[in-house]
Symmetry: C2
Subunit: 411 residues, 2 copies
Amino acid sequence: MNGKEAPRAAGQVSTRTRLERGRGALGPALELVHTGRAPTRAVLTSELGVTRATAGAVAAELEALGLIHVEPGSAAGAQGRPSHRLVVADDGPVVLAAQVHSDGYRAALVGLGGRIVATTPGCEIVDADPAQVIGSVVEAGAALLRDSGRRCAGAGLAVPSAVAEPEGNALNPLHLAWPIGAPVREIFEQRVSGAGLDVPAFTGNDVNLAALAEHRHGAGRGSRDLLCVATGHRGVGGALVLDGRLHTGSSGLALEVGHLTVNPEGGRACHCGSRGCLDVETDPLALLTAAGRTPGPEESLLAQARGLLSTEYADRLVRGAAEELIDRLGLGLAGLVNILNPDRIILGGLHRELLTADPERLRAVVADRSLWGRSGSVPILACTLDHNSLVGAAEVAWQPVLDDPLGALST
Amino acid sequence: MNGKEAPRAAGQVSTRTRLERGRGALGPALELVHTGRAPTRAVLTSELGVTRATAGAVAAELEALGLIHVEPGSAAGAQGRPSHRLVVADDGPVVLAAQVHSDGYRAALVGLGGRIVATTPGCEIVDADPAQVIGSVVEAGAALLRDSGRRCAGAGLAVPSAVAEPEGNALNPLHLAWPIGAPVREIFEQRVSGAGLDVPAFTGNDVNLAALAEHRHGAGRGSRDLLCVATGHRGVGGALVLDGRLHTGSSGLALEVGHLTVNPEGGRACHCGSRGCLDVETDPLALLTAAGRTPGPEESLLAQARGLLSTEYADRLVRGAAEELIDRLGLGLAGLVNILNPDRIILGGLHRELLTADPERLRAVVADRSLWGRSGSVPILACTLDHNSLVGAAEVAWQPVLDDPLGALST
DNA sequence: TGAGTTTGTTCAATGTCGGCACAAACTGAG
DNA sequence: CTCAGTTTGTGCCGACATTGAACAAACTCA
């Protein structure tokens, strides 16, 4: 108990320890390469706002970590010495991405840059128990991982439900027949570590994750205020990406846009108790019934609705139904524009098809019902990424590495 | 043209120059003192996450800049050596804050910590020309500044209109009889520099600025996702403060909540062409007419509505009118909660009075129409600051100093 | 082939911040 | 009143990321 031999450990320790620091610009640099905004070392230098010396050191360190490759030379055609190309390492670590939706589940390995390295085929769900389903998809992903022999840096899961923060419970997995409040994050974390993976695991809403993926690798690139609205098989989801970060609100429930009123004169009854909600007015079932079709059991509602739009759009009834949905969707988007003032809107699922069917009509409705200035003429684009929820699940799994490559990979 | 004598200046210069850097933690430290979150040097140390040595150096530098005072000792009652108190300098710089609303204008000098150092009485508007009005309020502020003899660090103006970014035009100054699109920022900047003040000048919407002020010094302290809704004399405004920063959207038009539909069964006609908008259903005029009163010309509508609530709330007709407005307001807030998922809501203007009249009713409506989890039980509080728009105008004027004290004050 | 341009590399200098030791200022018990 | 215990302020040194500048390398164009 001699003070000299046992100096107090709790003296004036700062919150940031040495280990988790690493080189300061390492994270931002990796994010620039990851999102394709730094194709060469020269633009990395200017994007980071540092000297060439620092950028060189940072790039070298990322290469030493096995995350990127620095490829010298390459005839650029421009004047001066060609800059080294920065590319994502094709033999680097991957993350395990998983998605569950009302029609099935899928697992994949995703590298930096949003590249899907390997994927399982879509599997059907045979059990309504969330622990079973999540266990299956994690197992499928772990099998992919074993086959690939690559290092795993994290795991992410996309579910078709709002996920409450900070608990990680699925609050409305209505179309999965899961119990309300199912602890999906806890289940996923358990299954991931149960599969022998000692990596951080994240769970999020599928539309949120899709928006994140589109922001980094798809139609949302470069946007600072990105609004994403999508309908999958049933119901409508929304997401907002602000300054490159997903905005999920204080408890993960932001952008639950399904119950915006878009049919003031009544409309279809919604399970929320109200009528004319975006959820029931613009989803695949709404299109089918508006077109006078009775949905069959052989295909998913989304597939049937898509088929209707692509093959029978000339039909007067189908076209009328589509225009009705477009008007309703436009009303909902205009309401969101007045509140959020995004600089870009991207649409996924059936909404994507509605946009491509008649982009002018949708844009006109949004502009007409938005109030002032340029907010009404916000660009509306279609999602461009395949499996964007899956890639989004990978994005959140990558995030710790993007924030602090040295710290996340040293463990 | 000798390369040796004239070295290229554009070599590998980084974007951050030496002058605008200053000590790294200087800005965060000043913000902590400014918002009252660092009353002593000890908590400054822990809040910044640095060592005592660094915190001491930072505090000393802020004192050398004349922004704060470091007062040694002060019997704290607790164990150990009492920590030096950090207080805002009462002889330091001030900013010029100005506000224009439909009833008049006011100028003030505001120090750090949101302290109003001096203020003009409320002045009536005699001219509908924005340049005249803004000129008058700047002149009044400049006179205050001359009398005080203190240094001016910036200027801010609050206007009752959406302000489009990046131009700074007032898009809906309807109740001021200003032309739509009046270049208020340009006018304000011109008048400020015309008054001999070589300081940055900022212009914003009054509710936005009020929300910022409440976040830093009032009912919004500590909130990470703050929603503010307020009605002044006519119309309803909203604001969102995310992580301490005002969220104005991509072109300054976010949170234009006035045209949310809150009366689905028709309701009053709004100038936007629709019916049942929040704007016309919950403003002072709506209360007066719902209570069967014809507004008189002697007082402002807000004052008359406030008077009605405070003196005649026992009246069946008045109470019924108030409850109708509360239900409509609750419907609007619930819609915003579903989209934004704030962790706190604060209400200003007449909405504040409606909340205090029957808080339970309002909270019940919001909870009933919000969808899941805790998002519906979000705390709803009344604004607490006097002149919060004025203090908010000061906040944006202070912002450059808070971001980089050394750079902002060295010029 | 050489001038001009742009980029990568090396290295010393700089400034910030962490870690440590010690002094200072208070409380509370005997 | 004194002394142990606790918490905070200060001075000093070292680690280290980053700058700045000089120089080499790689390409285009005349």
